[in-house]
Symmetry: C2
Subunit: 433 residues, 2 copies
């Protein structure tokens, strides 16, 4: 006997929503083989029914009223691809309360309200999946929750924002200044007209919140993650990094040692040998170090219509399989680790500093004594062969030091008259750091 | 109420088995949180109870008789890490017939008898998982079956043998000849004293059989996969490849277009830009191209005690979760695609050829006419500036050509008196190939 198809309500018909429609249509036969059921998109929420669409849909499916999906008892599953907090939050909450399963690509929402929504889903026996919310087409959430479930994760480092990685790749390859690289990203459709969330690192922070939640089994709030964007990165910084054997990337860093964790997003130098170092352009990658497994990396497209739709529809396949087995909403592992943050004395890395100094006798001695007094030694020093207006430039990389030590050094340098300007400083990762 | 622990019978206490014992012990608390059950290793099959062990186990658990595990009604789950076909095959069959779930790291067995064993498992309502059999710690089988389940996979390319990748990396970095690099791999414990299965590409072929089975949803037999090893690769080949912007790797290639597939293992040139090109040493990586998702890559340790144990125990966690939900052996997707192989006229790539020619007038003209007559044009030609004993050497890369065209060319070159020797030829992948 042929089973009824799964009835899906699609909320949102932008880039990802259009991809979902296309994928469900083009891969119908494969999806049937995977699930033993047909998948039928019964209704689609849009803001404006009259708008021209790049994807062909029966106009009778379109609605501008969320309740036509949420209160339709015939709809089993809601795919939320509107993005943003509202009305997505209210819609997903209501869908779960109505006993509908939910698949979402919404990182903003999951980073902010994920724990609450997952708990409602569990109570209601509903699935709530969100693989597409982090690193688009890369199934990295499954890797954390299933493939590496036996391991204890010690490090998650991610290039999880394609826009900024594209900009930094352009700056590195062609020496294009930040503003021009951003404009090019906007021209190519890789950056939005308001690029704030990407450029300021907020988008990456949301994804890191989700990764740390799953990897470290602990709740954490988005505003607990220190975030620094890439607006102040210069092509000179990138060139100096290159001379020293490093690349500059916007990196989300989540580490845990002895039960304490750190999670941050910032432009950082990565050793050229690091698996993440060769991830260029709009690609994303997540590097995961587990105590037992060691180094792994998951690489792929971080955004885009079809990659993101693949993650959404793969989640949808899992929901349908769970429906067949009658196990929706079960088997989720709730966070079980206490949230303990590292102090600045417990966060370690190497550091890159670029300084403009007075070009006079004794300055280098004074500079090195500042590092020595903070008990930080130097790994590499690059004396830049320019001296203009009585100033010299110096670029250095420290050996491993705590954030507290770095702050002490920065404060002392600020007090030195011979230090004319701290041009830039970055965290350094990889190698033996 | 505290639940009984899951009772595990471990078959094999070599490298991977010892890792499983360590991991279950060290991560006990985490495993309990993941599954809500304890995991207890009740009995361990070994060849020699008296042997010294690197891992501490209660000697009362050891047995030399498989039936003490297989016929023990109290054992829920068998972990098979003996390797090889027999007695593993008989043991796994019997375990499944007895209604025990099985987790195995055995690629030889799964490549040869996987379809049959999976079918028995399904009939008996048992799980049979084998994530550890391919690419050790990298959860790539889950990526294919779950994370990318909505997509249609068009290419799987793998560096899935760490031994040969280590040897080729040594040859490339240090110019070490093959025999010395192999000896070094043996010294380091990366190659066995009989390195045949690794060096001849057989190990990689077994893994590619499993990947193609899952990616293309079709049965295929191991002996249908053409295999070529790395014994004849020279450091000169690697250096010429480098000069042309390529690296030489042992690559498993599985491609499917329009319902027809090709699966092979061979040393091949990879464009330096390809995500697999920077995978060095004993690391493994699997590159997967899906029609919708595009390019993804999964990177990590391909072997070793703890990485492989991570994959085994993560599978074990999944079995326990399934036991809690009562869904073992269900939800597997049986192969549903017809097996159709490409003919040599349908397999396309670029090709690298290295030839020794008579150093006399008209030879180059004769050579180029052979390619022209086969309708194959040349992308790059490298004239090697040596001429000894009246011979010259030439290295070239063709544009995309079929395997049939290549064979025609090789036959014609063999007939040309001026072509003194075909030194080597390799398939070329990546770039726009």
């Amino acid at each position: 006997m042929e089973q009824e198809p799964i009835r899906v309500g699609l909320m949102g018909l932008g880039t990802v929503g259009s991809g979902v429609v296309r994928l469900v249509k083009n891969h119908q036969e494969d999806l049937w083989q995977q699930t033993g059921r047909g998948i039928s998109i019964e209704r689609i929420l849009v803001r404006d029914k009259g708008k021209e669409r790049s994807v062909q849909v029966d106009s009778g499916l379109l609605t501008e009223r969320p309740e036509e999906i949420l209160q339709d008892k015939g709809i089993d599953l809601v795919v939320e691809v509107m993005g943003g907090i509202e009305p997505a939050y209210t819609c997903i909450r209501e869908a779960l309360e109505e006993g509908k399963h939910v698949v979402t690509a919404n990182k903003d929402l999951m980073a902010l309200h994920g724990a609450e929504l997952l708990s409602i889903a569990g109570d209601k026996g509903c699935d709530l999946f969100y693989e597409a919310s982090v690193a688009g087409g890369i199934p990295v959430l499954r890797a954390l929750t299933e493939g590496l479930s036996a391991d204890r994760i010690s490090t998650i480092m991610g290039i999880v924002n394609g826009t900024t990685n594209y900009i930094l790749t352009e700056m590195a390859r062609k020496g294009t200044p930040f503003a021009d690289a951003l404009a090019k990203a906007q021209d190519q459709g890789y950056a939005e007209s308001d690029p704030t969330a990407d450029v300021e690192g907020l988008d990456a922070a949301r994804k890191m919140a989700i990764l740390a939640y799953l990897g470290f089994h602990t709740h954490l709030a988005l505003d607990e993650i220190p975030v620094q964007g890439i607006r102040d990165v210069t092509t000179e910084d990138i060139q100096f990094a290159d001379q020293l054997g490093y690349v500059l990337k916007l990196i989300g860093i989540a580490k845990r040692n002895e039960g304490k964790m750190e999670v941050s997003v910032q432009p950082a130098l990565l050793s050229g040998e690091h698996p993440l170092a060769s991830v260029d352009g709009v690609f994303n990658a997540v590097y995961i170090h587990g105590e037992a497994v060691g180094e792994t990396m998951f690489y792929g497209p971080g955004a885009g219509e079809m990659p993101t739709a693949t993650a959404v529809v793969s989640d949808l396949v899992t929901v349908v399989k769970h429906m067949e087995l009658g196990v929706n909403g079960r088997g989720m592992v709730a966070p079980y680790c206490e949230k303990r943050w590292k102090s600045p004395r417990e966060i370690f890395s190497k550091h890159f500093l670029r300084l403009r100094l007075a070009d006079e006798a004794g300055v280098m001695a004074g500079l090195t004594s500042v590092f020595a007094e903070a008990a930080v030694s130097l790994e590499k020093v690059l004396q830049v062969p320019i001296s203009q207006g009585g100033e010299a430039e110096i670029v250095l990389i420290t050996h491993t030091a705590s954030q507290h030590q770095l702050e002490t050094i920065l404060r002392r340098l600020d007090e030195m008259p011979a230090v004319r300007q701290l041009m830039s400083h970055y965290r350094v990762e990889g190698g033996n750091g």
